[in-house]
Symmetry: C2
Subunit: 334 residues, 2 copies
DNA sequence: TTGTAGGCGTTATCAC
DNA sequence: GTGATAACGCCTACAA
């Protein structure tokens, strides 16, 4: 049979409760007793049953991540980062329930709460701004941390970068290169980051004294294919842009693919910029300029906020981004 | 308080055990009773405690996936596919413990067995061929399914494609294009697929009456950077290859990046081929030829084998791959 | 600082 | 077909 606390307690000549105390690092255990028990735990290779712990105690030692991003890289980074931190804390991460449909999502989260009794939850866009999800979590009193929230910033701790300022910085970079007709491909409107980045683009144009031309703003979805189709639309304009800023790198890669297909030289005839939730930029050529988001760091911070919450129940951690300016040749029009 | 079986049984006017029977779809429950109980379960929105079920029963309703692949796409596809199937079966997937170091891996798996009491495990390369892992699993009697195993094929059900034949097909494609000096960048030697693909490359050369030139075979690691460095080495040869076949697409993308950097025209001066564990090929330009591996399908099959094992305890499911031949211009040497 | 009693919510066993 | 009752392995509360 399996090794239980009982076995350990017998071996160590102490009560079950004392073993439990050692296991949970509780106070009021004699140093000597603790050492003896630890040794027996080690020797017997005892591992407490997580089911029994969850049933008897208040914690389940399991947390979940809700992450349905169009980019596998983003998902991977988020999950690996959070998992690493959880492991250090002796907590298990449930493989994320994806967020395809919101109705299923709510049900899934309820199952996580009722059935697993998760100790906490991390939300990424777009679920991070889903009012029904937030309401459910608050009603059940489940601790949660949000990544890149776009609203209701006070209801939970959160981690984010200043998407608006980042997009403005990148747009400014393009303006500095000499561009005045800069196309912009927005992200999926379900993601708050999408609106934030669009706003930054407008900010920089305004600062640069450039009028916003609605024809230059196209609705993307954060997917590669939408980058392609919107780039085609932009380049087919009577007055096409000399630079295109896509709200993420997947779309920027699509823009690049179209440019090559049409024989538009990059960056001589067209500068392309993206927003690097992911390392995709590393795979494309020629390089495009990109805003580098510290996804892995965001994962770490989110996990930390969940696993060891601070005083402030609505603590906001802002992280830095980096502007990677590449292909900085001035545009050659015509 | 939370809703328990007891509440349901009281509402439905039956015993706790009967409710349990309905919940677990056991036989010997009157149709009428079953309907009544189900209705109450529905009405009360009752969700059984997974901890209690695991503690009392033989199953934990949790399975795990061991998947440490250099490609996030591969990980994503694997995990999503398996998770989907698990969800249908009412089983939870633990977020994968990655396999960075083998010693931690064994410990981690042991924890999964002892602490969580997982119902099963899915192994992908390189863990799929780790003798210590296989031994542990067999010793503990934990059901497991392997993806792309390279050896010990009899010890468990498995899912795979014929990597050797696929690599040969692709090499043959390059030969048919007119190439005779074809470079090959191998994958990480820890992965059995690496040797299988290398063997396929040699097979095709042999069939084509082309001698294997050891200088044209370079040791990669399945990572983008190794594709770059090995491509540099290949292109620096006195007699450089006119085509390079990398054992996966990440490396092929690295080759492509180097070609562009060196001003080598693709595919006019250099044909590039890869092995598509992932959709990366879609992001690079110009397109490279690739072997498309049905990662998602493999995930489904692996999950199916784990969740509803058949008669044959060492069932092997072979899946089809596709040869995507692109950039098929004949090489222009010099 | 340590131990005892009771219960967490389900499934298994064995009667009826 | 259905229902008592005893586990399952641990934690909480309280006592010593």
């Amino acid at each position: 049979m399996r090794v239980t606390i009982k076995d350990v307690s017998r071996e160590a000549g102490v009560s079950i409760k004392t073993v439990s105390r050692v296991l949970n690092n509780e106070k009021y255990v004699g140093a000597e007793t603790r050492a003896r028990v630890s040794a027996v735990v080690e020797r017997l290779n005892f591992r407490p049953s997580s089911a029994a712990r969850a049933l008897a105690g208040k914690r389940s030692f399991q947390v979940a991540l809700i992450c349905d991003n169009p980019s596998p890289y983003y998902v991977y980074e988020m999950q690996s980062g959070i998992r690493d931190r959880c492991e250090e804390a002796g907590v298990r991460l449930i493989a994320q329930p994806y967020d395809r449909q919101s109705s299923r999502l709510l049900d899934e989260i309820e199952a996580l709460i009722e059935s697993i009794r998760i100790d906490g939850l991390i939300l990424t866009p777009p679920a991070t701004d889903n009012p029904a999800v937030l309401a459910l979590l608050r009603a059940r009193g489940v601790p949660f941390v949000r990544v890149s929230p776009g609203s209701d910033v006070g209801v939970s701790p959160s981690v984010f970068i200043d998407n608006r300022r980042a997009a403005a910085d990148m747009t400014r970079h393009l303006i500095d290169l000499g561009h005045s007709r800069i196309g912009f491909i927005t992200g999926d409107p379900d993601f708050a980051t999408s609106a934030q980045r669009s706003a930054g683009y407008r900010d920089a144009l305004g600062d640069g004294g450039i009028a916003v031309d609605p024809a230059l703003i196209r609705p993307g979805t954060y997917g590669f294919a939408s980058g392609e189709s919107e780039a085609e639309a932009l380049l087919a304009l009577a007055q096409p842009p000399t630079a295109i800023f896509a709200a993420n790198d997947d779309m920027a890669a699509g823009v690049l693919a179209v440019a090559h297909r049409l024989g538009v030289r990059v960056p001589d005839q067209l500068s392309i910029a993206g927003f690097d939730d992911t390392p995709i930029a590393g795979f494309v050529w020629p390089p495009l300029s990109t805003v580098r988001q510290p996804t892995r760091q965001m994962a770490y911070q989110a996990a930390d906020l969940l696993l060891s919450p601070g005083e402030d129940a609505s603590e906001r951690r802002e992280l830095d981004y980096a502007i990677i300016a590449r292909g900085s040749t001035a545009p050659v029009v015509g």
